[in-house]
Amino acid sequence: MQALTLAVLGSMVLASPCLAETVYISNEQDNTVSVIDGGTLRLVATIPVGRRPRGIGLSRDGRQLYVAVGDDNRIDVVDLATRRVAGSLPSGEDPEHFVLHPDGRRLFVANENDNLVSVVDIPEHRIMSEVEVGVEPEGMGVSPDGRLVVNTSETTSMLHVIDAASLELIDNVLVDTRPRVAQISWDNRQIWVSSELRGSVSVFDAGTREPLAKIQFEVPGVPRELVQAVGIQLTPDGSRAYVALGPSNRVAEIDARAFKVLRTYLVGQRVWQIALSPDGQRLYTANGNSSDASVIDLKRSEVVKTIGVGRSPWGVVVAP
């Protein structure tokens, strides 16, 4: 008996390198956040939140989780020690995506119904400003140096560039149809934008907004229309980009310097948002139609685990 216990313990230790990371996934149709332990890769908790949770992000000190609950027109603040909603922030109507500014103090929130990006002052619990953008604002990104905030508008098909200090729109760039996610590279020099319906990712110079590259995706055996680009993750060293390909059930790995697709991973159905682990060794995916999360081991280049979560998982974030 003791031997068995030891064997089980031993295999658990072997299977899990010393990871303390925790993965949080918002479940749009369940009104919950699933908590996955990054060591055991098991679902360890489910946190009830407001209605239609989508955008999800950590506070700068890592102690709180912000969850945009669109149907309740607010952002819930989850205390991660107790795993309970401890309060909320104003967000403007129907918040979807948001991004935390590196100052740790401001959230930039896309208000999907109102063609606005709301700027939320976290300590003061108030909306300090609104920026008018195109129809159905969606993706939100911020440059690591804190100077630029970017937003996409789905129906307008534009990338909107906002000066994070003056909160003025400084540029609006037509991009491919139904843009979803915008990310600024870690060196602050590039803006990556995914287009759901064109199934492409466009890369722009962050300073001049000149196009640098356009990446197209092909998945053998999958109709072109179903190869759609959604979530983007860029590695801090600038070598790789990962793109969720929606209903083609794939994640693409891209050489971020050559803008070339290296390989694709088969994950769950309608993969939406994705998140890198802090050490850059794993990628977690939220698979909307199969209600699970996939874990890709990037060193071994393989999908190592599928974990059932709530209904319609949407957003994903990894805490160290």
Binding site: E112, N113, N115, E130, E132, G134, V135, E136, E154, T155, T156, S157, M158, E168, N172, L174, T177, R178, E196, L197, R198, P223, R224, E225, L226, P247
Partner: protein, 390 residues
């Protein structure tokens, strides 16, 4: 402060030549008698179609604000027995080059063939007639609303997925009902279904709304539907005269599909997938109701023109017409896939919703119906089948 910023923006982006950046789209409709809905839950709609066009103008303008292009809508109604050419002339005099037509097939054809229409681009937002896409196709006519063949094929694919292979077809008295039945027969053949029986609905319309009308229907409908066994009853009642009476009254306990029950349609009030929640919510704010198929077609038509104008940076009729028919045009239509125009007949390729009365049931094309180009072209007349010879 925000207002001031907007004014400045408008001044900066405004064209030096007044009006040059203004694109005016015409919305041409025809006088129709107000139809009393069969169900007491429905209200008569007075702004069907036009409400969709108005929303699309607002959507276009929101983008145009950033690119320096403005959009306006001019609305015209052809009176009963009126002349479509006169309406087109008056639109052309206002500088309109693009017209969204909320017209029945005959009026649409008369309008598109009028000399006044030669330099216009007309987008069909109402008439589902397959002849308009085939023998009667025209260079100046695009079709945003799905054809009857597309609707029937979308339904037939779903029924094939379900293996509901044996159909009982009930056809209404209107000309459109017969054409819908033609499309059903074509679809049955294409997707391997068998029509085991066909009946015409010959009872008076409207008796369901009379007091205790259900008593009569309870004996009439079983009598009409006593036919050899089948998997589904497929109803062709475009005028909404009797289809609503069938579910729950048939001789055999079989689902009702077609124009009633489980409906194949370009859009439905129940649609909320793929971001349609936002479209429905914008529409509801504007029109006070959910968006229907005719509203959607008008919305998609005006959005298509707007998208082409913004992408090409022009308001030119030829340039926009070429772009719309070309390979680069893609409309985000809240149905999960990009929508474009078939170059061979000017029909917008698009998914077909299979909608229940309260919820979305499915969306075609169904998995497994393959195509060498776009799987959307498994719906309706494909290039090889098209009889359009322009």
């Amino acid at each position: 402060m925000r207002c001031l910023a907007l004014v400045v923006l408008a001044m900066l982006t405004g064209s030096p030549v007044l009006g040059e950046d203004l694109l005016t789209i015409g919305m041409l409709t025809q006088a129709r008698d107000l139809v009393q809905p069969v169900s007491p839950l429905d209200r008569p709609v007075t702004d069907e179609g036009i409400a969709g066009a108005r929303l699309a103008i607002a959507d276009n303008a929101a983008t145009g604000r950033f690119t320096g292009r403005r959009f306006a809508l001019v609305e015209r109604t052809i009176p009963n027995e009126g002349d479509p050419a006169a309406a087109l002339r008056s639109l052309a005099e206002e500088g309109v080059r693009f017209v969204v037509a909320d017209l029945d097939a005959a009026t649409l054809l008369a309008a598109a063939a009028a000399p006044e229409a030669r330099d216009l681009l007309i987008l069909n937002g109402r008439a589902p007639d397959d002849a308009l896409r085939n023998e009667a196709c025209r260079e100046n006519l695009l079709h945003v609303v799905p054809s009857r063949a597309m609707l029937a094929d979308g339904l037939a694919q779903y029924l094939a997925f379900k293996r509901w292979r044996r159909w009982f077809v009930v056809v209404g008295p209107q000309a459109g009902d017969r054409l819908y039945a033609d499309a059903l027969r074509r679809a049955a053949k294409r997707f391997g279904h068998e029509i085991v029986a066909e009946r015409e609905w010959t009872f008076r319309a409207g008796q369901g709304r009379t007091d205790t009308g259900h008593v009569t229907l309870q004996s009439e409908v079983p009598a009409l539907t006593r036919v050899p066994d089948h998997d589904v009853l497929v109803v062709a009642d475009e005028g909404n005269e009797f289809g609503e009476y069938l579910p729950g009254r048939t001789a055999l306990p079989r689902p009702v599909v077609g124009t009633h029950g489980i409906v194949a349609t370009g859009w439905s009030a129940v649609s909320d997938a793929w971001g349609a929640t936002q479209l429905q919510s914008r529409f509801e704010k504007l029109a006070g109701r959910r968006m229907g198929a005719v509203d959607y077609a008008a919305w998609a038509a005006v959005r298509a023109i707007g998208e082409a104008a913004i992408r090409t940076g022009t308001g030119d009729r030829r340039a926009i017409g070429d772009y719309l028919r070309g390979p680069d045009f893609l409309l985000s239509g809240f149905k999960g896939q990009g929508q474009s125009f078939r170059p061979w007949d000017g029909q917008m390729r698009q998914p077909i919703l299979v909608a229940g009365p309260r919820m979305l049931v499915s969306v075609s094309p169904q998995p497994g119906f393959l195509h060498q180009g776009s799987e959307l072209d498994t719906l309706g007349f494909d290039r090889e089948e098209s009889r359009c010879r322009r």
